[in-house]
């Protein structure tokens, strides 16, 4: 087990969805409750796979963690008005797509402070808006879109089923054409050898 004092010096390798690896300090990683629960006590051999998130997102999340390592202990969500210049820059630099990815990654890694800042930021985006304006911000699929999405999903499922059936058929054929003769050959050879051995031993 790594001691808290020394863990800040320890570097961990993180693997992203692209298969790339980069290192993050133990102190930064310790802000993730997911990491704490999974690796802190047992340590990690080789890179830690966070392969549901891309490298850019993970780097952004850990950039935040690295920055907040030296901050005082977290005591509940901080109001957006109280955010430091660095924090504001951190959020303003991100485009919407990256922001969404960061929220999801932060939620998965269970980084309480980052998640609550992001969520408060979303709440702010919706502040002062009426229902129609809110709908524009949060993109609700319309009934037609939902129907279309369902149809696409059904089509995909049907296609996947077909592919699976085809794959199963091909596997069966392969079994009969290639694998069985080999097996039979092995069995036949084994039988022959056994018979030969038996006849030899009788002699």
């Amino acid at each position: 087990m790594t001691s808290p004092a020394s863990s800040s010096e320890v570097k961990y390798l993180i693997e992203s969805s692209e298969g790339n690896t980069f290192d993050v300090s133990g102190a930064a990683l310790r802000q993730s409750n997911t990491f704490n629960a999974m690796f802190l006590n047992i340590g990690a051999d080789g890179p830690i796979p966070f392969t549901d998130y891309n490298e850019a997102t993970l780097k952004k999340v850990f950039e935040y963690c690295e920055h907040s390592v030296n901050e005082e202990n977290y005591s509940g969500p901080k109001h957006q008005d109280d955010l430091s210049k660095w924090d504001l820059n951190f959020f303003n630099e991100m485009d919407q797509k990256m922001f969404i990815d960061v929220i999801n990654a932060s939620n998965f890694l269970d980084i309480e402070r980052l998640t609550s800042y992001c969520c408060e930021r979303i709440a702010r985006m919706l502040r002062g808006k009426n229902t129609q304006e809110m709908i524009k911000v949060i993109t609700l699929p319309t009934a037609e879109e939902l129907e279309a999405k369902q149809k696409v999903e059904e089509k995909k499922a049907a296609a996947a089923k077909k592919v699976a059936e085809k794959a199963a058929e091909t596997a069966e054929k392969t079994e009969t054409l290639e694998e069985l003769p080999v097996q039979q050959l092995v069995q036949t050879t084994r039988n022959k050898l056994t018979r030969k051995y038996l006849s030899f031993s009788n002699e």
Binding site: P77, D95, Q96, K97, I100, I103, N104, N107, T115, S116, C118, C119, E120, I122, A123, R124, M125, L126, R127, G128, K129, N130, T131, Q132, M134, I135, K136, V137, I138, T139, L140
Partner: protein
């Protein structure tokens, strides 16, 4: 790129709702059936709800932890909806209406949403009650603030009500109040009436533990003589030395008022000044001794 709110995990959605005002959560719940379900699933706790029932406005006021009670959601009627494009909304279980939503500020600078609907009838009141009940988890009994003219309106059954506040400039008919109170309010502990009263104290009024009357008139005298509850507060009362004497004597001798803990009577400006000697002469009194009992007691009118 818009936010895929419905695709966020439950924890994230809940955290977003936590950063929102109650009125914003209410507006979110009107976005779609699925968003409403998200608000419901977040199971957000609410301190104390006040249902406001006035002839021209129905509202939900919330008394949060350490924050004074203030309005958060309001419905008013605007027969010819104008100014903005009205939107179709589904409130409560299955009530559909068209309305215009506006964000406003209360006197205490609290943000609230005002929804104007073409007809503010019993269906709207019922649906608003259902909707709020579905969205939030109540942690304390509710209160009702009702206008004297709305007492005879068709209202939903408000559950777990502990306080009722009746307001209005028009004279309150105690028979109307009796009819209103005869509905389902078994947990009612406090009744506050801030309007002039017509009639004598009725049986329903005498069943309540804590009663406050701002303009009691003749009702105050009968209520004081028959009161069976714990706390009574009469402002602008018309009482005489004789009445007070009788009341204090009965209370001291335990001939009545067995439950009474607190009495506050403030005289009406029209009433004659009381002669203190006329009261004390009739009673067995002794000099106040701080060693025997404290000089002041603190009592909250709850």
């Amino acid at each position: 790129m818009p936010l895929p709110f419905l695709l966020f995990p439950y924890v994230v959605q809940k955290e977003i709702f936590k950063s929102m005002e109650y009125c914003e959560m209410f507006l979110m719940s009107l976005c779609s059936k699925r968003v409403k379900q998200c608000v419901i699933q977040a199971r957000l706790k609410i301190a104390k709800v006040w249902y406001g029932v006035y002839p021209d406005i129905k509202f939900i006021a919330i008394q949060d932890w350490g924050i004074p009670v203030d309005m958060h959601i309001a419905f008013d009627d605007q027969p010819a909806l104008s100014g903005m494009e009205p939107m179709e909304m589904k409130i409560g279980d299955d009530f559909k209406t068209r309305g215009i939503v506006k964000a406003k500020l209360t006197r205490l600078k609290q943000e609230y949403c005002l929804i104007s609907v073409p007809k503010l009838d019993a269906k709207v009141t019922k649906s608003l009650h259902e909707h709020v009940k579905q969205l939030f988890r109540y942690t304390a009994p509710c209160g009702i603030e009702i206008h004297t003219n709305s007492l005879t309106e068709e209202l939903p059954i408000y559950e777990n009500v502990s306080k009722i506040l009746v307001k209005g400039k028009s004279i309150l008919d105690l028979n109307d109040l009796d009819t209103f109170l005869s509905q389902y309010y078994p947990n009612l502990t406090t009744l506050l009436i801030c309007s002039p009263i017509n009639g004598e104290a009725t049986s329903k009024l005498l069943e309540i533990g804590n009663v406050h009357l701002s303009y009691p008139g003749q009702c105050g005298i009968t209520l004081l003589s028959k009161f069976n509850g714990k706390k009574i507060n009469l402002w602008g009362a018309v009482v005489t030395e004789k009445m007070l004497n009788e009341f204090i004597r009965k209370w001291m001798k335990s001939e009545g008022y067995q439950n009474l803990e607190f009495v506050n009577i403030e005289l009406s400006l029209e009433s004659d000044l009381l002669n203190r000697d006329l009261i004390t002469d009739q009673l067995e009194i002794e000099a106040f001794d701080e060693m025997k009992r404290p000089g002041r007691y603190q009592s909250e009118f709850r």
